[in-house]
Amino acid sequence: MLSALRQMLDPSLFWEYRVVLLQGLVQNLSIFVESAILAMVAATIVAVAQLGRSRVIKWIATGYTELCRNTPEYVLLVWVYFVLPLIISKMIGSRFRLDPHVAAVIGLGVAYSGFMAETLRAGLRSIHPGQAEAATAIGDVVLQDAATDHPAASAAPNPARHRQPARLAVQIDHHRIADHGAGHHVPGLDDQRRRDAADPALYRRSGALLHRHHRGDASFPGADRALAQARLVVT
C-alpha cells in the first residue's frame, strides 16, 4: 500500500499546477464570500418577514425557507444555471444567459439563506419579549417588536400565555411611573404613553392575576415580580 501511495503521490505535481490550483482556490473563496453575503441579506429579510404581522407574507417566507432548506444544493445550482435563464428569457422576450460564477453565487446564496433565516428567526425569538417591552416602556423605538406584539402572536395560545405576565408587568411599570411621574422626570416617557399607562383595565388585570395566584395557578417566568407589582396596583 505504501509503495502504491508513493507511486501515486507526486508532490511536484502540486508545484507544477500551482497557478491553476491557486486560481481555483481564489474562485472558491470569492464565490464563498459573495454567496455568504447574499445569503445573510436574504436570510435577514426572510427572518423578519416570518416574524411580521401579515399572514400571507409569513406563509411566503416560510415556504421559501422550507424550499431552500429541503432542496439539494446541487439541484438548486443546476436549476439556477440551466432553467432560470430560460425562464427569464421567455419573460423578457430576448435571450438571457447567466454567467457560471453568478449562477453559483445565486444558487449557494439562496440555498443557505434558508438555513440562516431559520437560525436568525430562532435567535430573534429567543430574546425575552420583556426586553422589547421594557425598551418601549422607556420610550425607545423598537425596530422590530413584531415578535412580541402582534395580533397573530397573542391569538396563539401557548406563547401568549408566556407573554401576558411580562406585558402586564411592564404596563404596571407604566402605571407606577405615571403615578409618580409628577415628581420624577422619566426620560423618554411622553404624554401619550402616560395617558396609555393610566389604564383602568390594568386594575382588572392585576386583580385577575392575584386571583389566579390565590388559586395557585400563577406559576410562570417572572411571576414573583408581576405579582408584587399587581399587589401595588390593587392595594
Partner: protein, 227 residues
C-alpha cells in the same frame, strides 16, 4: 400550452428512467445510511471507551466532517481502488463516501447523547451490579435512542441531499437520469423543475418526521433533555 406539452413529452414520457433513477437514489441512501449508523456507533464507542484509540476516532470524525462530500466522492471513487483495492463499483464508492461522511456526524450525535446522560445513572447501575454491556443496553441506549432520533433522521435527510452528487461519478440516480434527458433534448425547464420538486418532497417528508420526533418524543416519553 407549451409547458404542459413539454411536461408530457419530457417528463411523463420518461417516467420509467426517472423512477429507476429514484430507485437508485433510495438504494444508495439506504445502504449509505445503514453503514453510516454502524460506523458512527463504532467510532463513537471507540472515542468514548477505548482510551488508546481515542485520538484516531477524533481524527476520523474531524476529517470526514471537514471535507466536502464532492471531494470525498471523487477521492473514494478514484483513489481508494488504487490504494486499498476497493470499492470496485461506482455504486459501492458512492455508498461508501456518503457513509463515511455521515458516520462522522452521527458519531458526534451519539456522543452528545451519551454525554448528556446524568453520570449518576451509570453509577447507580454499577452499584446494583450490572455489567458494562448491560448498562449500555438496558440503561443508556433506550434513552439515547429517543434523544438522538430527531438528529439521526435529519442526518438521513442530509444523506439524501448529498446523494444528488453521486451523479458526478456516473451513478444513475434520479439527478443523473434527469440530466441525461436534459442533455438529450436540451429542454431543462420541466425536467429539472420536476426533479427539484421530487427531491424537495422526499427531503421535506424526512425532515418533517424529524421535526415531529423532536417536538413529540420528549413529551411522549417524559424525557427531559437540553434543547
Amino acid at each position: 400550452m407549451t409547458f404542459v406539452d413539454n411536461f408530457n413529452r419530457f417528463v411523463l414520457a420518461n417516467l420509467g428512467p426517472l423512477f429507476s433513477g429514484l430507485w437508485v437514489t433510495v438504494y444508495v441512501c439506504f445502504w449509505a445510511f445503514l453503514l453510516a449508523l454502524l460506523l458512527g456507533a463504532v467510532v463513537c464507542f471507540v472515542r468514548l471507551r477505548v482510551r488508546y484509540l481515542k485520538f484516531v476516532a477524533i481524527a476520523y470524525v474531524e476529517f470526514f466532517r471537514a471535507t466536502p462530500i464532492l471531494v470525498q466522492l471523487l477521492w473514494v471513487n478514484y483513489v481508494w481502488p488504487e490504494l486499498f483495492g476497493f470499492p470496485r463499483t461506482v455504486i459501492g464508492a458512492g455508498i461508501l463516501a456518503l457513509a463515511l461522511q455521515s458516520s462522522g456526524y452521527l458519531a458526534e450525535t451519539f456522543r452528545a447523547g451519551f454525554e448528556g446522560l446524568p453520570k449518576g445513572q451509570r453509577e447507580a447501575a454499577e452499584a446494583v451490579g450490572m455489567s458494562r454491556w448491560r448498562i449500555i443496553w438496558r440503561i443508556e441506549l433506550p434513552q439515547i435512542a429517543l434523544v438522538v432520533a430527531p438528529m439521526v433522521i435529519n442526518q438521513l435527510a442530509v444523506v439524501v441531499k448529498s446523494s444528488t452528487l453521486v451523479s458526478v461519478i456516473a451513478i444513475a440516480d434520479l439527478m443523473y437520469a434527469g440530466l441525461k434527458i436534459v442533455n438529450q433534448w436540451y429542454e431543462p425547464i420541466e425536467v429539472l423543475t420536476t426533479i427539484a420538486l421530487a427531491y424537495f418532497v422526499l427531503i421535506f417528508a424526512i425532515s418533517s418526521i424529524a421535526n415531529y420526533a423532536y417536538t413529540h418524543f420528549q413529551t411522549k416519553f417524559g424525557l427531559v433533555t437540553q434543547r
